[in-house]
Amino acid sequence: MYISNWDTFCKRAEEIYIAHPNKTRYTHKYRHVDSQLVLKVTDDVTTIKFRTNQANDMKKLLEFNALMFKHTTSAAPTPAYVSSAEKAAAAAASSSSSSPSL
């Protein structure tokens, strides 16, 4: 149920949402005392979770929230998550294509 790889969690979460947009819900739970943050996505059949205690992961939380805001307000959600590996590949591709030829 707990997924430790962030990209895997996001892709899986998106799959679950797009398959059942009416049933899927996303929850985040924060415990200040324990420094714990848990993200949970479920459609009442499949449940996945991601947990962390790292301040660095706030960025992940906000990105995931943005993704969920976008999906819950669109009539026909399509996969939109771009993993960090894909972003790096895209950045490398665009920088190599824009470099001046000698």
Binding site: Y26, T27, H32, F69, T72, S74
Partner: protein, 122 residues
Amino acid sequence: HLPIVYSISATMVLLENDAFLTDLNKLFLRKKEKGSVWVTFKSYSEEDKRGKKRRVEEGADKSVAAPSCLLRATDGDKIKISTIVKSKDLPRFQQAYSNILLVNMDSLKKKAKKKKAKKAKA
């Protein structure tokens, strides 16, 4: 001296976006010493309220309205608040929401890189 939360009632209170954000902030402040804060996102479309599709009159607009985002927040006990965010309000709401999280979720651990480097040298 705990901040006053507008809605401690053990029933769900539906609020306007701004009131929800204010109460969410207060909920986080309230739960600093003890407890958890849950926030749930769900897709909400008004037309499915009764679970049946209403009879569409001839000539009526058949396009499905874009759903809204239903947000709920709770402390797992008595405080339950919710709000509905429409896509037109989304950018402003998302900005404010992110700020509330950044300000309040500050007990997460920072990486202690410098300490490790010192230990390695010694």
